[in-house]
Structures are given as structure tokens and as C-alpha cells.
């Protein structure tokens, strides 16, 4: 059944109550009346009318919604007291942003954030430096989450059988259902819950309704991690890794820098040991075994591409070699030198980490635990705590059980909070069909999705930015979700409030959360504690204490005999780097974000190696039909380097919403063939080539060969052996004296060794600088507007191994900028602090500057990409000009932030300090690869970085004298592996 996000019209036909309303609504007078008296309902009305295709067109171009008209959302403060992050002003100062600490939850796990608000309007999300999962950094999904708040796809009215209803009607119906029906027939289905308050509420609910059950399900769950822990220790423990403590890291298909709880922190810690400087040239070393290329693999010093089913064999062999008594299959499909080097490195290292990927089976996790124990890593680089999840169970099994109960008629009332199991349940668990067997179903959801459409009741949910809640981070640290504004619409309900309704509790979300923490708090002066927790964004001392689980005595028996590695084609499912499990499918920023390695936007693709493509007759950008157990999906092919042969990777989450596949009348939905038995990889898949062309929009020309002289790649040994290394280009003499910068002179340094290519900077820049979305077609025409792009290069190093190198390219702010003299109207000029500025209102749009920019970092508004529709305008940063059609734009080094710092400094009668100005890209960067500062300040960090021997400017030989310079990418390969195959 089509869902709400793909169809707006169909509900009218089956909604008996809707019909008179609809007739009435044809009249303009009624609309005007509704708009005047009930603006928010009018918004919902308008929403239902806008045809999807027309909508997508506009949304694709600029996130606008035609006809959303004069309504939209007026930001309100919450009624409760909220505590801003940095300082609490006596009153709100117009024009000055306020920051509020909160948390963004993904897969149950919290990342601490600061929400920037302007006059009460949230415009931006940044990492919270006080929060352990962030340390100030964030990722693309966190950054882009603010856009969801203003998403016009959001449905804001209660629906009963897809017809308009009200919360009062729902409350009454719910009470009737709860009273008349069997308590044992009550089921609560949620996503992963780490929220202490929600867990307490659920506990209370289960006590109030004996026999009722709570089931959690989300498609990207941690089932393997939980089962692996059970296998190794007989109990569920949470593993916290301290990458800053590890000299050697071996990853068994674990994409720990992108898709694990705590990955922002992990990336930070990992990179903290790779800051190679002239005076401190030491590095950790990462060995990556992976079944599909990831950004973690790109950062690795040695990378081994294995079929996913072979990773367990590798783990067994590794465990055996390190003294863990396990049975090892004889076949070893990898170069022995590579394996020996891993063993030798782990043995030699003082501390190390062996980490297993979420997608690998429990046995691999158990083996990793055993190896870490054998290497003595436990307690230092690997720390165990009690589980973070309120109820860590195998979610797939729980869902299967729930569906069995539903089919058997044992479920009478099903309350669902979040998620979309009709869409994303394993293909062999017929959740959607079973749903019709349940007499009373209600779905609390932010979007009206497939599950909402199949439920009797749809209750609109609050966005996390407008609700009170709490959650725990990867290490158990609790934080309060603090809303800087009240709900944009009166009709929305938070999960806490819905649960309260179930138990007849009438407290507000704020009181529920606050009173929970009051009940937990032992010391005196709770108010002070509460204010502290809200202000800092973390509940003090709430990280879970370490525990020391004991390994099962006979791990080999627990693991069972190794299964023979299957042959044939293997299919890997991965959460999408941008839209995750599909929850961000309505987020235009994330849809248009080029995926880190493939640089594809707006679409899903089947990643295959060139050899496999040849073998199967697959052609790039042509659909392939994947069949597994009678189920099939079609998806366009994208030939990818680093992909193991005979392995196809697809992303989860497509086939609905804003994806370009939906617009083209197709569905690249990987859930269609994902089963509960093999949620992450399967063998025995058939891939049939089709002749259907499906063009993909990628921002990177896909070429066999590329010129890699713009990236410098060095090994640590080369770096150490050449203390006089000097990569920078000496500027040629000029007849003119250099300009004397007597105040500030801004510059940037980007460390390509630290850059992991995660794209956080791109979205950070987009939200800070009001950068519009242009849509798939425009991306195909190379008109994407991102001011900052991350170029990906495949570079061969001295030993012949291919490395993936990421190079973020903002404007270089050249000292001798080629763009400046060619502009006929002086719309782009150098300022007295060295910035290459763009004067939008002077620009007439000759575009000559762009032709003369050797870095191609300028962007042009070829069409009207910025519209002034209310919801499109809400997220915008009022400190940054919104550019109109016909105007050139580019990175400004976040000049608005420089101005703000200058004003602050001037008010306080001091110069701007180092670190006071952080451009949005640098602020978003989890690894602190981007450093910005005043080149006139000898103590500035950026000056020290630019003095490094491996500092260089891209295309500096053109004598542009770029102010953005790079630190060469340094890798730390094991010398014993020089020139070995397998990488």
C-alpha cells in the first residue's frame, strides 16, 4: 500500500467523514476562514491538497511548498523553563543567537547537540563539546536533523482510518479500547529505547496491564552485538572502545567511524592519534577487513576486502593465532603476509582494539571479545558496561513473535511509537498483513508513513527539537532532550505523553521527564542539578560504570563448528550513509548530499566491483534485478573500487519519500528482499542484468584514471625520513609589494590525514549558509550548490597500494585570486583581512569568476533555488544573505562568524582570540581536521599547522597563493607488507 509520503490523495476516497469536509474545503471563503481562525489546521489542509509530483518538483528544487502560503509555523517558546547553553540572558537580545543543549537520538543512542536559535527559531544543530558522544563534533545526519522540523511532508493532524479526527476522539477511543479489551492483548511496539524516563513509563504500563508486552523493532538494530555479548559472556554488556588508547586497531567489518553508536566520538579518538606533526610524528595503525568500502576502510593503513561470509573465518583464524582456542576452517582466502602482519602488530602493540561490525554475526563479536581479552585490552582500550538499552533483546526475534501473536489474534490493542515496520520489517515477517488482524491500532509517528496508513489511528509526533525527553549515549551518559521551542503545531504529541495517556497520566512531557529525574536524584537541591543538566546537555556522572564480565569457559563450543563459507554471489545490506534506515528519506539536504565514496545523490545503487560487473554483464547506471528466495528488487548498478568480487552492496531506506527512484516511478527498496534470517548479508542471490538505463546523479566524474597530483600522500616512514620535506610551493616574486595585513589575516588548514570523508562539514556549511537544494536533475547538470565539496581520490602510494583520500574543498581565498580581476563589476574583491569576498548585490552574473577559478569552488544560482515560502525560510540563518537567481556565491570562511567575534572582541576591548572564530565546517568536523585562525597571530594553531613540513596548497604552482592549505595525507603502513597484494 502506498504511504502518505508518496501519496497525498488516496485517503479522501476511503474517508467517509472526510467527504463533506472536502466539499466544503473547495470554497475559497472556507479556506480564508480556516486560515484566519485556525492557521495550523489550514496548513494541514493545504498539505493534503498539494499533488505529490508538483510538490517534489518544488521540494527538489528548493524545499519549498507552494501554497503553504501565509501559514507555516510561528516559533513559540515552551511554557516551561529551558536553560540556554552558554549564558542566560536576562531577556532575548534580538539578532543574537541562543544555544540550547539537547540530544539527537538515532537508533536509540544520543548524540549531544547544541541547537542554535534565532529569535526563538531553531536554525542549526551543532555538536555539544561537553557531551562524550560528540565533543563538539557531529555528523551529517545530526546536522541535517533541523530541517526535519520544518519538513512540509510532516502530517500534523490526527487521523482515524485516514480521515481527519482529533486527539480528543483518539483519547476517548483509546480509553474505550483499554477498558473493554483484554489487558493481556496490549502490545507496545517502539524503536530501540535508551531513554530512562520512557523505560520507566513502559515499566509502569506493563505493571498496570498484566500480560501486556513491549516489543522493540528497528531495521538497523544491534541484534548481532547483543547476541555476540550473550555468546561470549552469557550476559548482555555494552562495549565502549577507547580508540585514543589503542596503538593498533583491527576492524572486522566494523564501520566504526560512521555507523555505530558513538561513531562521532570514535572518529575523534581515532584521529587524535593520527595528528602527525614535525615534532610528534607517531601514529596508530588500522587494519581493516571489510566486505564493502566504507569511510573507515578509507582511513585504514591496510585494507583487506573479503566477502562478508569470510570475515568470521578471518576472526577465527585471528583468535586462534592469538591464543584463543577456537576451531579454524582450513581455507584462508587472504594473503598470509597480511594476516601475519595483523597478528604481529597486535602482539607487539601495548594496547589495541579488535572491533566487530554490527553487520557481522554474533560469533564474530564473541571472537572479538575473546581476542581483546587475550590481548589484555579489556579495561584500557575496551571497556564493558551494563547495557545502554533499556531492554537489550534480539529485535527481529521479538518482532517475529509479535507478528505470530497478531496473526493468532492474541493482540487486541497495538500501540506503535515511531518506526515504520510495515515498510521496513524483514520481508519474511508479514507485519503489514498481520496488522489488519489487530482490532485497535494506533501509530505515533512524525510522518504519515506506510505503518500509519495501515493503522486505525495516526497520531502526529513531536520532533525532538520540540519535545522533552531523555536518552543515553554510547557509554551510557544520560542527557536531557530539551526543546528550545514549543511544538510548531498544537496537535502533536510526544512519546512520553502518549504513554501517559495509556496509563491515565495527565502530566505534560516536561513534568514526566523532570519528575523522573527528581525521583532518581539522591542529593539535595534538585533544581540546581536539573539546571546543570539542562545547561550542560549531560546529566552529571551518568556514564555507566565499567563492569568485568567473564568469558564463557568454552568459547569454541559456544560458537559451534565453523560453517563452510558459501559460494556464489553475496548481497550486503547497509544502512545508507545519508538516509540511514530510510528515516531521513524526506530530508532534502541528506538526499542531495553526495555519498562519501560513490558521490551519488538522491538514489540507491548496487555497488559491484568491475570484475563482477563484467562477469555478470552489468553496466553502470543500468538496472540489475536481484532475486533472493523468490523476492526481488531492481536497483541501478554502480561500479565501485574496493568492492570485493562477487559481492553486491545495497543501501536500506529507499523506495519512498523524496528519493529520485520514487519520482521516476520505481522503488529501490532493499527491504523487499531482506529477511530476518539474513538481515545484513546473504549468499545465493541471483543478479540479472537488465537493459533499463537509470541515470544516477553523481557529483564526481567517474573516470578510469585521474590526475592525483593535487593530493600528496606520504607514509609515516617517508615523513620521518625527510625532516626537510617541503611540499609548499614558493610564491613567485611579484613586481608589486605584498599587501600589509595589519589587523587580521585569516587562513585555514585542512589535515587530510584526519579527514575521514564523513560529509559533516558539507551539511554544516549548508545549514549555516542557507545553501539551497537543487534536485537530482540539477545535480546531474553539475549545478549543485554546496559551497564545500569533498573530493575523493584513489591514489597509489609508494608501495603500490591504492588509498582512498578525501580532500574537502572550500574556497581557497587565494591571496592572488584569479576570480577577482576578471569580474567586470568588482563584485568579488579582497578585503583587508585577506578574505576573498563576494558582494551579492553587486553581482550581475557574468560567471567569468567561476571560469577563472582553478578550484571550481564557485557556485551559481542558475535558476531560482531560494524561494520565500514560509517553511522554506524558517531554517535559514538570518545572519547570512539569501542569494537570488543570477548571482554567484561561494564559501565566505563564514564571514558572519568572524563579524560576530569581531563585535564581541570590540565590546570587550580585546583582539579576537585564537579559536574564537570557527567556521561551520570546522565546527561540524568530528576529527577536527579543519583548523581556522588568524595568520597574523604567531600563537595561533593554524600558523603552527601551516609551518608543518607537509603543508601544501592545491594548484599553488599557479601562484594563486591559497589561504586554505592542506596537510598531506600520511598513512602508516607496516613495512613488512610493502607491495603485498590484497589491498
Amino acid at each position: 500500500m502506498p504511504n502518505e509520503m508518496t501519496h497525498h490523495e488516496p485517503h479522501a476516497e476511503d474517508g467517509r467523514q472526510w467527504q463533506p469536509m472536502q466539499l466544503m474545503s473547495e470554497e475559497d471563503a472556507f479556506e480564508a476562514l480556516l486560515r484566519r481562525d485556525h492557521p495550523r489546521e489550514a496548513a494541514a489542509m493545504q498539505m493534503a491538497k498539494v499533488n505529490r509530483r508538483a510538490f517534489l518538483k518544488i521540494m527538489g528544487a528548493s524545499l519549498a511548498l507552494t501554497g503553504f502560503g501565509a501559514v507555516g509555523c510561528v516559533p513559540r517558546r515552551t511554557d516551561e523553563q529551558i536553560i540556554p547553553y552558554v549564558r542566560q540572558p536576562e531577556e532575548l537580545i534580538p539578532g543574537r543567537p541562543l544555544y540550547f543543549a539537547s540530544s539527537m537520538v538515532l537508533g536509540g543512542f544520543a548524540t549531544g547537540i547544541l541547537i542554535e536559535t534565532h529569535e526563538g527559531r531553531p536554525t542549526r544543530v551543532e555538536g555539544n563539546p561537553n557531551h562524550p558522544a560528540s565533543l563538539g563534533g557531529s555528523n551529517a545526519m545530526v546536522q541535517a536533523s533541523v530541517l526535519e522540523l520544518y519538513n512540509p511532508l510532516r502530517r500534523v493532524g490526527v487521523l482515524n482510518n485516514n480521515a481527519a479526527s482529533s486527539l480528543e476522539n483518539f483519547t476517548q477511543a483509546l480509553q474505550r479500547a483499554l477498558q473493554s479489551r483484554n489487558a493481556a492483548g496490549l502490545r507496545l511496539l517502539t524503536e530501540t529505547v535508551t531513554s530512562p524516563t520512557l523505560a520507566a513509563q513502559i515499566k509502569a504500563l506493563l505493571e498496570a496491564y498484566p500480560g501486556a508486552q513491549w516489543v522493540q523493532y528497528e531495521p538497523v538494530s544491534r541484534d548481532n552485538v547483543i547476541d555476540g555479548s550473550l555468546l561470549a559472556f552469557g550476559e548482555v554488556v555494552n562495549t565502549v572502545y577507547h580508540f585514543d588508547q589503542a596503538e593498533v586497531v583491527v576492524s572486522l567489518d566494523a564501520d566504526f567511524m560512521a555507523s555505530m553508536p558513538g561513531s562521532v566520538r570514535y572518529a575523534h579518538d581515532f584521529a587524535s592519534r593520527r595528528k602527525v606533526r614535525a615534532d610528534s610524528a607517531s601514529m596508530n595503525r588500522l587494519f581493516m577487513v571489510e566486505s564493502t568500502p566504507t569511510i573507515t576502510g578509507s582511513a585504514a593503513d591496510h585494507r583487506l576486502a573479503l566477502r562478508p561470509s569470510q570475515v568470521e573465518t578471518f576472526a577465527r583464524a585471528l583468535a586462534a593465532a592469538l591464543g584463543v582456542p577456537v576451531e579454524v576452517p582450513t581455507a584462508r582466502p587472504w594473503p598470509s603476509a597480511w594476516f601475519d602482519a595483523v597478528v604481529a602488530n597486535l602482539r607487539a602493540a601495548g594496547s589495541s582494539i579488535v572491533i566487530a561490525g554490527n553487520e557481522q554475526p554474533p560469533a564474530v563479536h564473541a571472537l572479538a571479545h575473546a581476542i581483546n581479552a587475550a590481548l589484555g585490552n579489556v579495561g584500557t582500550s575496551v571497556v564493558y558496561t551494563a547495557p545502554v538499552e533499556a531492554n537489550p533483546v534480539n529485535q527481529r526475534a521479538a518482532l517475529a513473535e509479535l507478528v505470530a501473536d497478531m496473526e493468532a489474534g492474541r493482540v487486541e490493542t497495538l500501540i506503535m511509537i515511531g518506526g515504520d515496520p510495515v515498510y521496513n520489517a524483514p520481508a519474511d515477517i508479514p507485519f503489514g498483513a498481520a496488522l489488519s488482524n489487530v482490532p485497535f491500532t494506533a501509530h505515533l509517528s512524525y510522518y504519515n508513513n506506510d505503518t500509519s496508513a495501515r493503522s486505525a489511528w495516526f497520531i502526529p509526533q513531536t520532533h525532538y527539537i520540540e519535545e522533552w525527553s531523555d536518552a543515553r549515549a554510547y557509554d551510557g551518559t544520560a542527557s536531557i532532550v530539551q526543546p528550545p521551542i514549543g511544538p510548531l503545531y498544537d496537535t502533536v504529541v510526544s512519546a512520553h505523553e502518549l504513554l501517559a495517556l495509556l496509563t491515565g497520566d495527565t502530566r505534560s512531557g516536561y513534568n514526566i521527564v523532570r519528575e523522573y529525574w527528581q525521583s532518581q536524584y539522591q542529593g539535595g537541591d534538585f533544581d540546581r542539578f536539573w539546571r546543570r543538566a539542562l545547561h550542560d546537555g549531560v546529566v552529571p556522572d551518568s556514564a555507566l560504570p565499567p563492569v568485568s564480565p567473564t568469558l564463557v569457559s568454552d568459547l569454541n563450543a559456544a560458537l559451534g563448528a565453523p560453517t563452510a563459507a558459501p559460494g556464489g554471489l553475496e548481497l550486503v545490506f547497509r544502512p545508507d550513509p545519508n538516509i540511514w534506515d530510510g528515516r531521513f528519506v524526506g530530508n532534502a539536504w541528506l538526499q542531495e548530499l553526495p555519498k562519501p565514496l560513490t558521490k551519488i545523490t538522491w538514489d540507491n545503487a548496487a555497488l559491484v566491483s568491475a570484475a563482477t560487473a563484467r562477469q555478470l554483464g552489468l553496466r553502470n547506471e543500468t538496472l540489475v534485478r536481484l532475486t533472493y528466495q523468490g523476492r526481488e528488487m531492481e536497483v541501478p548498478v554502480w561500479i565501485t573500487r574496493g568492492q570485493p568480487d562477487d559481492v553486491i552492496t545495497v543501501s536500506l531506506g529507499y523506495g519512498r519519500g523524496l528519493g529520485a527512484d520514487v519520482d521516476a516511478g520505481r522503488s529501490f527498496n532493499a527491504y523487499a528482499i531482506r529477511t530476518s534470517a539474513a538481515p545484513w548479508f546473504v549468499s545465493g542471490v541471483t543478479a540479472t542484468a537488465t537493459t533499463i538505463r537509470y541515470p544516477l546523479a553523481t557529483v564526481r566524474a567517474n573516470m578510469e584514471t585521474e590526475n592525483t597530483e593535487h593530493v600528496h600522500l606520504l607514509s609515516l616512514a617517508e615523513f620521518q625520513a625527510n625532516p626537510d620535506l617541503y611540499l609548499a610551493h614558493t610564491p613567485e616574486n611579484s613586481a608589486y609589494p605584498p599587501f600589509a595585513y595589519d589587523s587580521y589575516s585569516w587562513g585555514m588548514s585542512i589535515d587530510m590525514t584526519s579527514c575521514i570523508g564523513c560529509n559533516a562539514c558539507i551539511i554544516g556549511c549548508q545549514t549555516e549558509n542557507n545553501i539551497p537544494v537543487v534536485g537530482k536533475d540539477a545535480v546531474r547538470r553539475a549545478r549543485e550548490m554546496h559551497w564545500l565539496r569533498v573530493d575523493r581520490y584513489y591514489v597509489e602510494d609508494a608501495s603500490g597500494s591504492e588509498r582512498t583520500v578525501f580532500q574537502p574543498l572550500p574556497c581557497m581565498h587565494c591571496e592572488q585570486a584569479p576570480c577577482e580581476p576578471v569580474c567586470p563589476v568588482t563584485a568579488t574583491v579582497h578585503d583587508s583581512e585577506g578574505l576573498n569576498t563576494m558582494i551579492y548585490n553587486r553581482c550581475v552574473g557574468t560567471r567569468y569568476c567561476s571560469a577563472n577559478c582553478p578550484y571550481s569552488v564557485r557556485r551559481f544560482n542558475y535558476l531560482t533555488y531560494n524561494t520565500d515560502e514560509p517553511l522554506n525560510a524558517e531554517w535559514r540563518n538570518p545572519d547570512v544573505t539569501v542569494r537570488i537567481e543570477g548571482v554567484m556565491e561561494k564559501c565566505t570562511y563564514c564571514v558572519q562568524r568572524i563579524s560576530e567575534a569581531r563585535i564581541n572582541a570590540k565590546n570587550e576591548g580585546r583582539p579576537i582570540m585564537d579559536g574564537e572564530v570557527t567556521p561551520a565546517c570546522a565546527a561540524a568536523c568530528p576529527t577536527k581536521a579543519i583548523v581556522f585562525g588568524n595568520l597574523n597571530d604567531p600563537a595561533a594553531q593554524v600558523v603552527a599547522l601551516k609551518a608543518q613540513p607537509h603543508d601544501y596548497g592545491v594548484l599553488a604552482e599557479l601562484n594563486t597563493r591559497p589561504r586554505t592549505t592542506y596537510l598531506a595525507r600520511i598513512v602508516n603502513p607496516d613495512e613488512s607488507l610493502r607491495g603485498t597484494a590484497g589491498e
Partner: protein, 465 residues
């Protein structure tokens, strides 16, 4: 000067018979020349003129619609992107300015050098210059992202004392093209005055008479008038001659000044000038042949003059070929990896047909002009001229969107394709140019009557001696 009855047979001794079939024998008296030329304007329009005009006006409508859409909806209608920020817009600008060049070259350069045969072509070649410039001038305007602020390019007084960027070649362009247009217009007009007077005298309709009366500025054929006219024409020729060189040099500098691969060549200014005259001569020859047979002016546009024009076409064509060789040599000699990549991409990439088309169409057909019989065959000249025009358009295409498709950083490479609006922009400017040309040939003398008479008189004198 006296009325002489002479037959200027000498000027076209090798004229093929097929083209000299005349329904009425030409009256090669001084008065007859006047009648014959003014009859083109004042007589009944031939059918082909009406068909041509209607087609041109239809195409002009397409042009107006295209540019109007671009102005209203944005330059994004063209298939432009971030590497390829210019394509058909600027390719057309250069093509049309180039077309215009031949006119000034013939009227000013050859006037100063006292080439006699220039008089045959000068009038309509100058008209071509102005109409081609008018067409070309629209592109710098309509390629702007914000066309409504085009006046920012002019140093107009404003409260902020904001001047344009004098270092920008586009500003040089702005002044060069405007100066060129102004001088060309004046030059053309000065030359027209005696002929307009002739039209005034012949015109019967009061409206036409009034119109020509104003334009003739009281010309009576007085000796003082003639003296003043000659002085003015020579003075303007002296001013216009360097403009022939400067305008297209500056257009060439638009590219040479940029550091973009494929543009950064010091040879560009002279290369552009030669290329412009090359394409302009092709257009002059094309129109010469058409007017000659269309209005039966074989006696006034003799084949010997076509021969001379063809020689000039050959000369400039060979210089253009030299430019191609130097460009390839430069990439090799400078050992510049980016230039090398660009030469490789141009000649083997998706644009290879455009590149090889440019080379073949510009270099090969003109080789036939080494033969006198070809130079005097109107049919062959038409074919060669069309090849050159297409070849030179392709050259501009190769220089602009093709070079821009391959910037320094490969991550931004993006191959330009011709979209619907791009295609309309390629063909529709001919609507404006041809409409103006068609109107011109019916309202103003297409050959300078005064010069034709002078030419006849001089030849008669020669005959007497």
C-alpha cells in the same frame, strides 16, 4: 564627370555564361547604374525576398522568445553548469562579432590601402557589420544572470563612487564593442548619405520621400559636400582600422587573460582577429553571390572582385590553420599537463566530432581557392563559405564549452551537452541578422551608387586611354 556609354566587360571577362543570362541587359551608363541600384530598393520585391523575409521574421520570433525566456526564467535554461559557465551564449557572441569584422576590414582597411574592388562589397559588408554587431551585442547582455543590472558595467556616477573593475577583460569588451558599434554606424551612415540622396530623388511615395529626406541631411552633390564626405570617410577609416584589430583582440583577451586550460594562450588576440576576418569574408562572399544573382547585379559585383575576396579568404584561412598548429605545439612545448589533457580531451573525448569538424571545415575546403576557376565559380564559393562559417562556429564552440568542461580539478569535470534552449540559441540569432539584412536590401542601396559610378568612370577613362 560626364555621361559615358561604356561596357565594363573587362571587369568580368571569365564570367560563365550560365550566370550572365540576363532578362534585361544592364544599362551601364552612370544614370543606368543609379536606376539599377535604386530599383533594388524602390522596385517591386522579388518573390524570394518575401519568402526570405517571412522565414527570417519567424526565426526572429523564436529568437525573441528564447532570449525573453532566458531573461525571465534565468540562464539556467541553457545547459550551463559549474565548470561550463558559458557555452552557446559566448560562442555566439564571438561568432557574430567575427562576422561583423569583414565589413569594417573591407571598408576601412581596404579604403586606406586604396583597393578599388572594396567598393563593390563595402556597403552591404558594412551593413552586415552593424547587423552582426547588433546580434552579437545581445549575448553579453542576455548571458548575464541579472540582466536588469547590466549598467553596473558602465562607469556611471553613483553615490558610492563605485567604478567597474578596469582590470577585467569584460570591461574592455564593453567599451571595445560599444566603440566599434558606434564608429561602424557612423562610417556606414556617412558613406550612405549621397546614395540616400539618390533614393530621395527617385522615391515617389511621400512617406518614403520624407524618410529619405531626413536621412539625406540635405545632400545636393555639391563639391564642398563631396570634399567633406571624403574627409570624414577617411578620418573615420583611420579610426576604424585599429578597431578591426582591437575589438577581436580584446575578445580574444577575454580568454587569454583567464588561467583556464585551453584559454590561456598569448596567441589568442591575433588568432581571434584573423579568425574573425576569415568568417566575415565567408559571409561577405555568401551574400555577394546571393545579391549578385538575386538582384541581377552581375555587372556591378563582377567575378574579378569575388576572386579578390576569395584570395583574402584563403589568406586568413591559412593564418587560422597556423593558429591551430601553434596551439597544439604550445601544449607540447610548454609541457603543461593540463593543456595536454585538454588537447587530448578535445580531440578524442565526446567533443571529438566538433573538434575534427572545426579542423576539417576550416582547413580543407579553402585549399580549393588556390585555383582561379574555383575562385570565380559562385557555386563553389557558396559551398566553401558555408563550410567556413560552420567551421568557425565550431571553433568558438570548441574554445568555450569544450575547454570549460575540463577544468583543473578533475572532480569538477562535466561534459556539456546541447539542450533545447541551447539549440534554439544557436539557430535563432540568424532570424535577427537576416531580418535586418532583408529589410536593408530593400530600403537602402546595397551597393554604393557613388562608388559604382566612380568605378565606371575610371574604367571608362582607362578605356579611352
Amino acid at each position: 564627370m560626364s555621361t559615358l556609354d561604356i561596357v565594363p566587360g573587362k571587369s568580368s571577362p571569365n564570367e560563365p555564361q550560365s550566370l550572365t543570362v540576363r532578362q534585361q541587359p544592364p544599362d551601364n551608363t552612370i544614370g543606368g547604374v543609379s536606376d539599377q541600384i535604386t530599383a533594388v530598393s524602390l522596385g517591386k520585391a522579388p518573390l524570394w525576398w518575401w519568402i526570405g523575409l517571412i522565414c527570417s521574421v519567424a526565426l526572429l520570433g523564436v529568437f525573441a522568445f528564447t532570449l525573453g525566456s532566458i531573461a525571465i526564467r534565468g540562464t539556467g535554461l541553457w545547459n550551463l553548469s559549474i565548470p561550463t559557465i558559458w557555452a552557446i551564449d559566448i560562442a555566439n557572441l564571438i561568432f557574430w562579432i567575427g562576422i561583423g569584422h569583414a565589413g569594417t576590414f573591407i571598408s576601412a582597411f581596404l579604403l586606406l590601402l586604396r583597393f578599388k574592388w572594396r567598393g563593390t562589397f563595402s556597403r552591404f559588408a558594412e551593413a552586415m557589420t552593424i547587423f552582426a554587431l547588433a546580434t552579437a551585442g545581445l549575448f553579453p547582455l542576455f548571458h548575464l544572470g541579472r540582466i536588469e543590472y547590466f549598467y553596473y558595467l558602465a562607469p556611471y556616477p553613483n553615490t558610492m563612487w563605485m567604478n567597474p573593475q578596469w582590470r577585467s577583460p569584460l570591461i574592455w569588451d564593453f567599451f571595445a564593442i560599444n566603440t566599434y558599434l558606434l564608429i561602424s554606424l557612423l562610417f556606414w551612415f556617412i558613406d550612405l548619405i549621397p546614395d540616400i540622396a539618390a533614393l530621395r530623388d527617385k522615391a515617389k511615395a511621400p512617406v518614403l520621400k520624407f524618410f529619405y529626406n531626413i536621412l539625406a541631411m540635405g545632400w545636393r552633390g555639391d563639391m564642398f559636400h563631396w570634399e567633406g564626405l571624403r574627409k570624414a570617410a577617411f578620418t573615420l577609416a583611420v579610426i576604424a582600422t585599429p578597431l578591426v584589430i582591437s575589438v577581436h583582440s580584446i575578445v580574444g583577451l577575454d580568454f587569454a587573460v583567464a588561467i583556464t586550460p585551453g584559454w590561456h594562450h598569448t596567441i589568442f588576440p591575433p588568432f581571434f582577429v584573423v579568425g574573425a576576418i576569415f568568417s566575415g569574408m565567408a559571409m561577405v562572399i555568401l551574400f555577394g553571390v546571393i545579391l549578385r544573382s538575386g538582384f541581377k547585379l552581375q555587372n556591378l559585383i563582377p567575378l574579378s572582385h569575388m576572386d579578390n575576396a576569395a584570395k583574402l579568404l584563403l589568406l586568413t584561412g591559412m593564418l587560422v590553420v597556423y593558429g591551430y598548429l601553434i596551439e597544439a605545439f604550445g601544449a607540447w612545448f610548454a609541457d603543461d599537463a593540463f593543456e595536454f589533457a585538454l588537447v587530448a580531451n578535445r580531440s578524442t573525448g565526446p567533443f571529438a566530432p566538433a573538434f575534427w569538424g572545426m579542423i576539417l571545415l576550416n582547413a580543407l575546403p579553402i585549399q580549393a581557392l588556390w585555383f582561379k576557376s574555383v575562385r570565380r565559380s559562385p557555386t563553389a564559393l557558396v559551398v566553401i563559405a558555408l563550410c567556413v562559417l560552420l567551421g568557425m562556429w565550431l571553433e568558438r564552440f570548441v574554445i568555450i564549452p569544450v575547454s570549460l568542461s575540463y577544468p583543473y580539478l578533475e572532480s569538477m569535470w562535466n561534459v556539456y551537452t546541447i539542450g533545447v534552449w541551447d539549440f534554439l540559441t544557436i539557430i535563432s540569432p540568424f532570424g535577427l541578422f537576416l531580418t535586418l539584412m532583408f529589410i536593408f536590401i530593400r530600403i537602402l542601396p546595397i551597393i554604393s551608387i557613388a562608388e559604382a559610378k566612380q568605378h565606371l568612370a575610371e574604367e571608362a577613362e582607362h578605356a579611352h586611354q
